[in-house]
Amino acid sequence: MSNYAESAKDLDSYISARVPLIGVRSIEQTRALRLVKQMAVNPRRASLPFWVYTRATGLRDLRTNAPAQEDRSLTGAMDFAAQQFTNRAQATVVFVDPEDLSDDNTASRHVAELARLADANSGSVVIVTDSPLWSGLERLGMSVNLDLPDSGEMYEVIVEFLRDHHGVVPIAWSEQDARTAAEFLVGVPEGTAINVMATLVAKGSVDKDDVQRLAEFKDKHFGSLSGLERVKLKPADTEVGGLTSLRAWLRRKQRIISADLRGTDLRPPRGVLLVGVPGCGKSLSAKAISAEWRLPLYRLDLGAILGQYVGQSEGRLREALDTADRVAPCVLWIDEIEKGLAGMNDSTGVSRRLVGQFLFWLQESRHRVFVVATSNDVRSLPPELLRKGRFDELFFVDLPDTGDRHEIIEMYYRRYVRQDPAPELVDKLVGLSEGFAGSDIESALHEVGEQIFLNGPQSLRPEFVIDTFTNTFPLSRTNPEQIEEIRAWGRDRAVPAGRSPVSATDLGPGAARSRRVVVFGD
């Protein structure tokens, strides 16, 4: 049963039971009022009076919208309600966002008094509000929580809207497209969904491609995001090379994340944990997934979540994860996850609670939030995070092999030097860059680009490029023990993100059975 249907059922019972105070909590005022009116126009309630008060329209008959009195003040409406409750039985007066009733204040006390008056004569006060009611008011009645439309209700909204525009503009959507669109729009109010659909129609046609654009529309709707940072992608983030097995796996997950899963027991993909050598493209992979899947990318900074007061960190994480659920479908990027969730043995217990909270959300959320978490130091991560069934998969991203370095050098050379490199130069650079991470290669070629910018293209000499590579000291040389430790961990516990195992000679002693590379092209 949809949340709307369930709310309607509850509200119907409460009105029949003449509950003196009924709270209808929703951020969608119009939809909530439609729900209340649906109860009022029920033929079996034809003899019962219903009024509605809003600040803008004053007091009106809920069924006919006829004004009930000239006085548009809230206190005047409450006086009117008091009069009705005293003079007749079973009157219902609906107040829409009357005042702040979330705590013990004069308005709350006054409404409580009105509810007691209603109770004396089987009357009902209905409060439509977007915030919780003060406990003193809650005690006097019952509440209905009208959530945002679920996918079923959203589907009806979309279909109805498209039906109204049938013949007005060409509509290429199938039923399946509408279902997918409904899934994408879950988490926005009905009014926003209609605005989005109207924007599609306004451009002259509703095309198949527009289904994917809905995620972008939705992203724009959420201007302010609590606990999350919206990451804007650059053109360079939109392509990824290498990482063959990761990419194949992601292609499968993309089909699932946009699929209609009704009628199955399948859940949307949870996400992936990328571990490995620093500078090999783990973070860029998050951007590439977002770009390729055409889903907005949000970054959750676990370091910023941590607060100084008791419960503050947990509250912030809850808020951030709620936000992620609301903006779904999206890619949620948690960079260096170990920095927020490590420290399981700290005396405060905050880290342990955060891990528990995060894992619970990861397991229970049915929203289409695809988590891409990256980690350089997986040894400090709590073991329960790595257990199979938490993330969908754990991939290990290693240093690039010969072929991958070749690809990366060509790409960055073109980007920073603005010309194709000579094949013999590339061969030399591939040899010189053994043990380089992708970021080391980029850094070296960026320096070459700076030289050309300052001294002109004629200053470019192959010797300078070779010298730059020779003078670059990657982490694998400055701190080989650390790199080897990471690779040893990844080889044993994670799925290789790269295309195939490499020979041990390529990477020296203790080389990996497999590896990866990320190449970001223009």
């Binding site: 003449r18 006085d71 206190t75 005042e99």
Partner: protein, 181 residues
């Protein structure tokens, strides 16, 4: 023709009590005509009427001023204005008492209504002056909105309804009647 001294007496006694805040209904008072009383007696009675109205309006104004100044929030301020409106219909009812000649009741009603309008203007002005006393513009705007949404002058409209429902006995045990609606 002289009417009996009882009519004057009835009005005079009524005005004394009413001016002190009694909820007595002026509709029950006997009908008066200037010709029925000696000139100075009539004048004395008119003075008593205006004095009674003045006392009631002064008390009303003091109460409103006190409630508004002590209002902890905007809802309380709105309620103070609403309560003030509750106090006005009985005052207007005396000015328009059916026992008074029409010309007199018209003049008295005009007097009372002007006083209500004047009080409303004074309140508006006082709220505007709050700015000069260092009150934040947000608070001033909120109070202005409250004052505009709850004007005292609403009682001058024919359809204005006040009070009534809140007079129910709060000690009565509620008896809910549920029907299969």
């Amino acid at each position: 023709m002289w009417i009996t001294g009882g009519h004057y007496q009835a009005w005079s006694a009524f005005l004394q009590q009413w001016g002190d805040g009694s909820p007595a209904d002026p509709a029950t008072l006997p009908r008066l005509e200037p010709a029925d009383l000696a000139g100075d007696t009539w004048e004395r009675l008119m003075n008593q009427i205006t004095a009674a109205l003045d006392r009631r309006l002064t008390t009303w104004s003091d109460t409103l001023s006190r409630e508004l100044s002590n209002a902890p929030d905007e809802f309380a301020a709105a309620r103070a204005l609403d309560h003030a409106r509750w106090g006005l219909p009985p005052i207007r009812a005396l000015a328009a008492a059916p026992g008074l000649p029409e010309a007199v009741s018209t003049r008295l009603t005009e007097l009372v209504d002007n006083q209500i309008r004047s009080t409303q203007d004074q309140i508006d002005e006082q709220v505007r002056r709050m700015r000069h006393r260092g009150v934040s513009s947000t608070a001033v705007e909120a109070r202005l909105r409250t004052v505009r949404e709850n004007p005292l002058t609403a009682v001058l409209s024919q359809s204005h309804a006040t009070r009534g429902g809140w007079d129910a006995d709060p000690t009565v045990t509620p008896r809910r009647r549920v029907s299969p609606h």
